[in-house]
Symmetry: C2
């Protein structure tokens, strides 16, 4: 497939937080975007809810917006007809998505890609709803989707995966491919593993919520924003790299793994998490915290234009 351009049509199913972020992103990158939602009030307010994401995208210097088109579609057929890629953002329910896929499939061109944003569900959960399961790919963004570049991709048709990745790259995303369908894909497995140990440290009294978040943001989180976890150990191995690291410190890592915790979200632990997060929020509302997060993400993304990750 040639490079996607403004004649490439993208259908967005669902005009919630994720759907409108995708729509703003594709529109910013010059695509022909059509959006549908079964709830008329969600569809009617969709364009207004794209104002902030579009303004944020314009702030990121490397992304010279090409201003695509946006069409609000009252019918599913109208939204998906002629689409190269359909990005589905329905609620995280297998029956809901199955019903939607059965409605959508008859209107898809032969080579259209049906991409699910699902976080909690896997490709194997969703594919049985389709006559041609090869149409489906998982394409999971990381919140907020218009700012965080990652899109996790899994599917069974190499040609569709390849075309989808080209489209996501043209929208400034970094597609990352799974070799095998897996619950939580890659990123949420990593996030769950990290958070489990964070919750254990709260439960065990090693540190409080605020301290753990501060350690992460000013330590490994900052470093993981520019350097992968494997690459960090490669550098930690000195001249011997990863092989040297494993030879010298592999056994101590295995001991450390066995010393990590297995917390439970008991009422006491939940209360500590809520109290700690409330203290860290320091009176700021969710909306204020999201705005602060987005501002910091935009600054970090602008910094990447100067110095790409390792």
């Amino acid at each position: 497939m040639e490079q996607p351009d403004s004649t490439t049509r993208i259908a967005i199913l669902g005009a919630g937080l994720i759907g409108t972020a995708w729509a703003a992103l594709f529109r910013h990158h010059g695509f022909d975007v059509r959006i549908w939602d079964p709830a008329p009030e969600a569809l009617d307010s969709a364009e207004a809810r794209m104002t902030i994401p579009l303004a944020q995208l314009a702030e990121i210097a490397s992304d010279a917006g090409r201003s695509g088109t946006l069409t609000l579609c009252k019918s599913l057929e109208d939204a998906v007809t002629g689409a190269a890629l359909v990005q589905e953002n329905a609620p995280e329910s297998i029956p809901v998505k199955h019903v939607l896929y059965a409605q959508v499939e008859p209107h898809l061109a032969t080579d259209t890609i049906l991409a699910s944003s699902s976080s909690a569900l896997t490709w194997s959960d969703l594919a049985p709803a389709l006559q041609d399961p090869a149409r489906l790919i998982t394409a999971h963004p990381f919140n907020p989707p218009h700012l965080v570049p990652l899109v996790e991709v899994y599917g069974t048709d190499p040609a569709r995966i390849h075309r989808a990745e080209a489209i996501y790259r043209a929208a400034g995303r970094v597609p990352v491919r799974l070799k095998k369908d897996a619950t939580g894909h890659i990123a949420n497995r990593l996030a769950s593993a990290l958070w489990r140990e964070a919750v254990f440290m709260v439960q065990d009294g090693i540190a409080d919520v605020e301290a753990i978040d501060a350690a992460l943001v000013n330590g490994p989180g900052l470093r993981w924003s520019v350097l992968g976890a494997h690459m960090a150990y490669h550098l930690g191995g000195g001249a011997g790299g990863m092989a040297g690291y494993l030879a010298h410190l592999g056994p101590s890592q295995e001991r450390r793994w066995s010393a990590l915790g297995q917390p439970s979200l008991t009422p006491d632990v939940q209360a500590a998490l809520v109290a700690g997060t409330t203290a860290a929020a320091n009176g700021r509302s969710i909306t204020e915290l999201e705005a602060a997060r987005d501002k910091a993400l935009i600054a970090a993304l602008c910094a990447r234009n100067d110095a790409p990750n390792v």
Copy 2:
């Protein structure tokens, strides 16, 4: 204690990678720095090895260097006499550090802080070497120490902890306090937990090393550089915050935790990690990768001046 200033003397014990990074950092921030190493060649080359860290610190706009003094000390006594804080960076060996502490202690003023950079050892491993264990604090930096702001602090004397934190803050660091002595402190426990799942995904064939690193840097790593893990779930809970998240998704997190992997560093897994890291390095040497890491970290730190973390 008043704000630390250029009359505040810092003794650095050990002129390896960590020791010289600490020395460059304190010097950049205007302290009176004295450095000692038992190996004459390490001491002789220490100042030259600070050239790059000092130049990097000068690049970070918020840190207007005040150019402190550096004294290379041939004797331990000469280095630590009059120091407000002694930052110890000896090899990660309990006997080596115990011997060193016994040599140092007679020369310390009553309220001098002895701070260990140890990563692998705990306060409890080290304190028995001292007549007055309250002198000792853990003060673990995250590599590279002059760029990554985190310093993890643990000790038993609140006054010394408080004074040490003031000194680290004056050196542009973010001290984070443990409530309880723990192997791996906070950050390396989080890093071990994350890497365990990363290794599991390699072992299980879910994704390869390069894909996992790319997912991390373009997804959760980027977000954790501005937003803590707990705070991310607080925002993920919508208007209900952390309490809403736990009520709706706590059970699914516990299920997800139980589905995380328990990898082993078998020869096959080690070979996959080495091959994947080598592929990701793409011909770049450790030195080239470190330079790329530092450039990206400096850009990220400059971006923080515009938009502080959440």
